[in-house]
Each structure stands twice: as structure tokens, then as C-alpha cells.
């Protein structure tokens, strides 16, 4: 029923467009044939999910279940930015409809909801689908259906495989690059110390450790402890780290386990320097978790004070820089469309991803096909709100290539040193990024950029 209506509608649109074109040609024989240039061509239903007035995109997100705390804020924040864009002219006049469905971080459910979005709701693209195991469940489906699969919300290297998965693009910095940047910092600043690792025993932690090992001499690493997200008792791992005499602990852990690590070290009277992946270090989320875990076990602790001094990496302006044009923009959009959510790193993440999508859609042209979006991203995207450049090209579908080292101070990131960029290889150098930070456009909405 829906499908036949759509076909009929497309047919009607086609006929109208043809009629208009014929009329234009016959009435303006004096003007050049190129007068109907792309800048004012009629808006057509150029691809599935695109009508003359709307662009429908979909996503799978953990709105309930174990991964929901924190991550469930991302999609509403993206949607808030889309509403802001819609209220201010849309994308070439089209409004974005963002349909994100709950997958509870279960790959079976992910497969089900993404089939619904693609086969029944006819979305133009899947945007920012969250999670590695969840998104892997739909990777080949989306590519075989030729649905653009853009800006996956996971730092797995696996999204960067353009020959096998031409529709899929990563976005956030991958865990290997992060590991290298953090590892170099540790190798340089804790030269004489013993180092311990604490990581999640999956692709996230293992890729991170791979990057760390590229930079930290193995002689310095005295203990390697891993955890699985289903077992919250990490006392043995923390005791082992303490027994090994590690003076620095480098953690690739999600916020809940970083909070547990902090509390267990405290309990054991063990006070190593903490270096951690930005996946776990959003100060508001982390501080809140430390406080609430402590409260559950009957202690009153000030979480945000305890996490002071944690060293991490970040790829965007700190939420603490209130004068930064991007932070001001996110704050404005947040206050207007998403005020109930806390203004934290997850909200910033969702808005930055949404901004990047809007940028890519402007670059894809007035009446884009699905392939036009893929081509637009492959042609390269400006950094926009991100401080490191993107890697996008026809042969590279990885996202951000770098980050800066930051320290948590009073609930916000404080930048330490320049933005560093690197690749995912063992030998690839880590260099200082020479480009400059971009400013947010005054309208808050990107415009088509010439390919970089």
C-alpha cells in the first residue's frame, strides 16, 4: 500500500518535472539551455527517503538497556540540531525527519529495526547507528541494499573498508589512533614509571591496547588487566595492578568501569596516575557515576572532585570553553530543543555528528541520489566543529584522524598541548596538526563547501 502510493507519487512528480522542463524549454528559447542550473532546480524525490519537502533518515540507538545511560542522550541531541536546521531553512528547503529506534544494544533487535527502517520506512540513509556489535549486524545488509551508512557511532576500525563496504563511513576517532596518541603521551611524560593497562576485553579495549603498544615500550608495561562489561567485580584486576607496582594506569574503559576503577583504587589505598580513553571520560557522566556508585555502597563522595587530574584525549572543543563559537551554538540548540537533557559530552557528540551530516547533505547537492551522498563524503568534508581533519576519501572511510591531550579539571576538559594527528599503522608518525580551528557559521548551519 505505502509502496504503491510512493510509486504513484514519484510518477506524478516525474510527470510534473517533465512538464515543467518542457515548458521551460519552449518558453525560454532565447536563454541558454543551462539556465535551469542546479542552484534553483525544482526539488524532486531524487532518492528513496527524499521528497520535495523532506529527507527521512533512520538510526538504531540504545534508548533502553545496559548501554542507555548516557548514550540515550545522543540521538535526541542530534534530533535537536536537525529541528534547529529545519526551523532555519532546512537543507535546500527540505526538512529532516530523523527516525531513531531503540535496539537495547542487542544485535538481533538492531537487525530487526534497521530492516524496518530500510524496507518499510524507506529511509534515505542510516545515520550514526550506535555500537560495534550492534552495527556489525546490519553492515552487510545496508551495503547490499546500497543504503548510505554514515558516521557510525563507534571507533571500530572495521567501518573503514571501502572496497567491501562502500556505503559505510566511520566518524569518531578510532581506538587505535586514540591508543597511539595516549601512548605517546605516557611514554614521554612517565618515562621512569611502571605502566599498567586496564581495558575492556573486546575490540574497543583491544584496539586501544594495540595503539598503546605501538608507542609504549613493552618493558615499561608491568601489568595488563582486562574486564568484561557483564562482571562489575573488578577488585581482582585492581589488586593485581596495585601488586605490580604500576604508577600509571592507562584505561580503555566505558564510563561505568572507569568509575569503578577509580573507586576500587581508592578503596585499596592505591593512587596511580590515571590516563583514559575519551570513551569513558565525559566529566559529567563519569563524575556522576562515581558519586552514585559510592552512594550505593553507603559512602558520600564528591565524584567530580575525585576525577580531577585524569588525563584523556579529545577531538572537539571542551564544553568548558563557553566562549567557543561551537559550544555557544550547541548550548543555544540544547536550550531551545533539548533542554531536559544535561548539557554534557553525549549531547555535544550527537550535535556534532548531526552537523557533519547536514554538511555532507549540502555537499551532496539539491536533488541527491544515495550515491551523491557517498560521493560527497568521499570528496572530503571540512572539519567543522572537530579540531582534527577527517580522513575521508574514495579509499579511506575512517573519520577523524587526531585528538589533543586533555586533563579533567573542575568537571571540564582542559587542553594540554596541540592537536595531534596520526594513522592506524604501527610505524605511522604522530604529528602536530598545522591547520586551524574553524569557527561556527553565524547561522549555525553549514553551507556547501568546495571539496577540500
Amino acid at each position: 500500500m505505502k509502496r504503491s502510493q510512493r510509486l504513484r507519487w514519484q510518477g506524478a512528480a516525474l510527470i510534473t518535472a517533465t512538464a515543467l522542463a518542457v515548458a521551460a524549454c519552449s518558453s525560454s528559447s532565447s536563454s541558454t539551455a543551462t539556465s535551469t542550473s542546479s542552484s534553483n532546480a525544482a526539488l524532486t524525490a531524487s532518492a528513496p527517503g527524499i521528497t520535495a519537502t523532506t529527507i527521512t533518515i533512520g538510526s538504531h540507538q540504545p534508548l533502553t538497556g545496559v548501554a542507555a545511560p548516557g548514550y540515550s542522550e545522543i540521538a535526541p541531541a542530534s534530533n535537536a540540531y536537525f529541528q534547529y536546521v529545519n526551523a532555519n531553512g532546512g537543507i535546500y528547503g527540505r526538512k529532516i525527519i530523523y527516525k531513531y529506534l531503540d535496539d537495547a544494544y542487542n544485535p538481533t533487535t538492531t537487525s530487526s529495526v534497521v530492516h524496518q527502517l530500510v524496507l518499510q520506512d524507506n529511509v534515505y540513509a542510516i545515520f550514526n547507528g550506535l555500537g560495534t556489535p550492534t552495527h556489525l549486524a546490519v553492515l552487510s545488509f545496508l551495503n547490499s541494499e546500497k543504503v548510505p551508512d554514515v558516521f557510525v557511532a563507534s571507533g571500530c576500525e572495521c567501518w573503514n573498508n571501502p572496497s567491501q563496504y562502500p556505503e559505510t563511513f566511520g566518524w569518531q576517532i578510532d581506538y587505535v589512533r586514540e591508543g597511539k596518541i595516549l601512548g605517546q603521551y605516557v611514554a614521554q611524560h612517565f618515562k621512569k614509571d611502571k605502566i599498567g593497562y586496564f581495558y575492556q576485553n573486546d575490540e574497543f579495549g583491544q584496539d586501544g591496547v594495540k595503539g598503546l603498544d605501538y608507542e609504549i615500550p613493552s618493558s615499561m608495561v608491568v601489568s595488563r588487566q582486562s574486564y568484561v562489561p557483564t562482571n562489575v567485580n573488578i577488585a581482582p584486576q585492581v589488586a593485581a595492578l596495585k601488586a605490580s607496582g604500576a604508577q600509571v594506569v592507562v584505561a580503555f574503559a566505558v564510563p561505568a568501569f572507569l568509575a569503578l576503577l577509580k573507586l576500587y583504587t581508592l578503596k585499596l589505598g592505591y593512587n596511580p596516575a590515571l590516563v583514559a580513553s575519551n570513551v569513558g571520560t565525559d566529566p559529567i557522566t563519569l563524575g556522576g557515576l562515581v558519586s552514585s556508585f559510592a552512594k550505593q555502597s553507603g559512602a558520600t563522595l564528591n565524584g567530580s572532585a575525585l576525577i580531577n587530574g585524569i588525563i584523556t584525549d579529545y577531538y572537539a572543543p571542551s564544553l568548558g570553553s563557553t566562549t567557543n563559537s561551537w559550544i555557544a551554538l550547541w548550548k543555544k540548540v540544547h536550550d531551545q530543543y533539548d533542554a531536559k537533557a544535561p548539557f554534557d559530552g553525549n549531547v555535544q557528540y550527537g550535535m556534532q555528528a548531526a552537523y557533519t551530516f547536514v554538511q555532507a547533505m549540502f555537499n551532496a547537492g539539491r536533488n541527491p541520489t544515495r550515491q551523491d551522498l557517498v560521493n560527497a563524503i568521499q570528496a572530503g568534508l571540512p572539519q567543522g566543529p572537530i579540531l582534527a581533519p577527517y580522513a575521508y576519501s574514495a579509499t579511506d572511510h575512517a573519520g577523524m584522524t587526531g585528538a589533543y591531550i586533555a586533563k579533567i579539571e573542575n568537571g571540564v576538559f582542559v587542553q594540554e598541548g596541540p592537536v595531534l594527528v596520526t594513522d592506524t599503522s604501527a610505524t605511522g608518525a604522530i604529528t602536530t596538526f598545522s591547520g586551524t580551528e574553524q569557527q561556527a557559521p553565524a547561522s549555525g548551519i553549514p553551507s556547501a563547501s568546495s571539496s577540500s
Binding site: D102, P107, S111, Q120, L136, A137, K340
Partner: protein
């Protein structure tokens, strides 16, 4: 009674309905048909285990994982044809079902629930222990395509729906036959009164183990189907939530009859989708809207348990009796045709002679069954 030709007829009609719907409806509905078939396969096995032999399992999600990982490994490393993979997946889960069944035969009620719960929680974690073999958290990719004889444009979801539905229907047919064979009668005897059954010469432990094997095999087949349907086998898909969903489906549908497995599967697959559609079309905020499917699921469970304590199928049967009188032939697994009570959720925690209605003197059919069972 359900005779073989009659059961076969019903299966053929159901198959025709599946083919008709899969061609008429859109590709996403095909996917849902396949999903429903996966759950029917798994829940039917659980219905046999709980409804027929009076045991409980909170670990059938783990058996699904065994079937799914077997499928993924065979397709990945050996590229076997899928029908051969199905056979091996069924065989391996049957063996694991036997191993668990031997332990389970010694346990009853809450102790059995606890032991199988442990299985459901622990087994999927093995994937994390050997990431080299099982792919860890990322899992293993499964490639499943339409066969070439159907042509290049045949939708994959329709083929998936056909394959899954075929396996589900054959499973239903076999389980239906089994339930009405000597093995099934022994199960009922053990369920209703294990002491009496033992006195009549039924090997109680063997009957219980057999039930576990059958239920695990069904779950293994369902796991194999789920693997080719989602294209990924990862531990996140086989958590304890899945085991509980299967049991919920069996209880909602009705433990008294295999038809209950179909109703339960329909509820599990369709209610969340419809609830999400309703929530999004009414513009609820995402923090509220996302929880609507869970609420709907809970409401359906409570309502069914209040209105139809014997599940949807038990309720339908009661309605039928109200309209057409009690002279309906027994279509459930209840041994006594005169008694309209079918196994209910009580069976889950109370097993043996405390179950169901007050114990009654062994009536004629029962004793006949016992004789057959021991002859």
C-alpha cells in the same frame, strides 16, 4: 485427537499462508515472518519441555547460541550448504541438551530453574573467553544469500522467510507427532505424577532427558535460523533476556498446546513493533517512547495471565467451549479429556503431583497410555 494426516493438513495450510503473505506483503513483513518462525521453533521446544514433561528451562537462549555459533563456524570455515549446517547444528545442540538434561533430570522446580538460569547466563560468555574462535564481542559474520535458481531479483528477506518458516513448520509437525506418541505419553505421565509413572515402569529420568534433548534441539535449530536471518552471531544477542523472552512467549501463548508457540511468537515479535509505531506517531519524547514497547509487553503479559491463565491458546479453547459446548475433542496435551484444564504457568515452579488440578484417580485413557508405555 490430532491424527497425522490432520496435522499434515494444518501444516500445509500454514505453509500456503506463509507463501501467500510473503509474496503479498512488503520486504520488512517478510523479515518479520522469518523472525516469528525463529521464535516459533524455539518456543515450540520449550512448550514441549514445560507443558508436556513439566520441566522448566531458563537456558534455552544458550542452546540457541550453540546452534547459532555452530552455523556461523560451519558457514565461515567450511562453506557447507545450509541444510547440512542445520543438521549438524541440531545434532550438536541435541548432545548439549542431553548433557544438561542428565543434570536437569535430578532437579525440580526452582532448583532446575536456577541451574538452567546459570547456563543461560554463563554460556554466551564463552565467546569472550576465546575471541579468536568466536569473535568475542563483535561476533561472527554469517553470509546467507538467495540460491541462484530463484533469479537475481528474488528478495533475500522472502527467501529467509521461506527457509525459517519451513524449518518451523517441520519442527511443529515432528513435535506434534512426538507429543502423541508413546514418548509424549510418558512425558505426560511423568509430569502429572512421577512416582505413579515410575511404578508403571516409565523410566522417569530417561523421559526427562529426552524432553531436554528435544527442547534443546528445537532451540538449536532456531539459533541456526537466527544466525542466517541477522547475519551476525554475537554474544549480545543471546543474553539471559532471550531465554526469558522465550519462556514468556511460551507462557503467553499457552503451555497446553503447540499452537500456543505461534501466539507467543506473534506477541514477542509484533507487539514491540506496533507499540513503537504508536509511540512515535503520537510524538512522545524519546525517553518515554522508548519504554512504551516494554510497557506494552508487560501489560500484555499481565492481561493474558489475568484473563487467560492458560495462555492465549488456553483462552481460545475456553471460548470455543463456551460457544460450542464441551464435546470438543481434546486438542491439548491434557491426559484427561473430561478435564478442560491445560497446563498453566503454575507448571513452571511446581512440578509433579502438586501441579494443576487436584490429583484425580487415574482414569481410563491414562491407564491405557501407561500400558502402551510399558508394553
Amino acid at each position: 485427537m490430532w491424527t497425522l494426516p490432520r496435522r499434515l493438513g494444518v501444516i500445509i495450510v500454514l505453509a500456503a499462508i506463509v507463501v501467500f503473505l510473503s509474496v503479498k506483503l512488503n520486504a520488512f513483513r517478510d523479515y518479520q515472518i522469518a523472525e516469528i518462525a525463529v521464535y516459533v521453533t524455539a518456543i515450540a521446544g520449550l512448550t514441549v519441555l514445560t507443558g508436556l514433561s513439566g520441566q522448566i528451562s531458563l537456558g534455552n537462549g544458550a542452546f540457541m547460541a550453540i546452534g547459532a555459533y555452530t552455523t556461523a563456524l560451519l558457514l565461515l570455515h567450511l562453506s557447507w550448504p545450509f541444510y547440512a549446517v542445520l543438521v549438524v547444528a541440531a545434532a550438536i545442540t541435541a548432545v548439549s541438551g542431553a548433557v544438561v538434561g542428565i543434570a536437569a533430570a535430578r532437579l525440580r522446580g526452582p532448583y532446575l530453574a536456577g541451574a538452567t538460569l546459570m547456563l543461560g547466563v554463563a554460556l554466551p560468555s564463552i565467546a569472550y573467553a576465546w575471541p579468536g574462535v568466536f569473535g568475542g564481542d563483535q561476533g561472527l559474520n554469517v553470509v546467507f544469500t538467495t540460491p541462484s535458481f530463484l533469479g537475481a531479483n528474488f528478495p533475500l528477506t522472502r527467501w529467509q522467510a521461506w527457509v525459517c518458516a519451513a524449518v518451523a513448520l517441520v519442527t511443529l509437525l515432528l513435535l506434534g507427532n512426538l507429543g502423541h506418541s508413546r514418548i509424549g505419553r510418558n512425558w505426560r505421565a511423568v509430569r502429572d505424577d512421577d512416582v505413579a509413572a515410575a511404578l508403571d515402569g516409565v523410566n522417569v529420568a530417561a523421559a526427562r532427558i529426552r524432553a531436554f534433548v528435544v527442547s534443546a534441539t528445537s532451540a538449536g535449530l532456531a539459533g541456526a535460523l537466527l544466525a542466517i536471518l541477522t547475519g551476525l552471531v554475537a554474544p549480545g544477542a543471546y543474553t539471559i533476556t532471550l531465554s526469558i523472552a522465550l519462556l514468556t512467549g511460551a507462557v503467553i501463548g499457552g503451555l497446553g498446546s503447540l499452537a500456543g508457540a505461534l501466539w507467543g511468537s506473534l506477541v514477542i515479535v509484533l507487539v514491540p513493533t506496533y507499540a513503537t509505531d504508536v509511540a512515535t506517531s503520537h510524538g512522545l519524547s524519546s525517553s518515554v517512547g522508548a519504554n512504551i514497547p516494554i510497557v506494552a509487553y508487560g501489560v500484555v503479559l499481565i492481561l493474558v495471565m489475568l484473563v487467560f491463565p492458560q495462555g492465549i491458546q488456553g483462552g481460545l479453547r475456553r471460548i470455543m467451549i463456551a460457544f460450542f459446548g464441551p464435546n470438543q475433542k481434546s486438542r491439548t496435551w491434557r491426559t484427561a479429556p473430561a478435564n478442560n484444564v491445560t497446563p498453566s504457568a503454575d507448571t513452571l515452579l511446581i512440578s509433579g503431583d502438586e501441579t494443576l488440578s487436584p490429583p484425580e484417580p487415574p482414569d481410563k485413557p491414562t491407564s491405557q497410555h501407561e500400558k502402551e508405555g510399558t508394553s
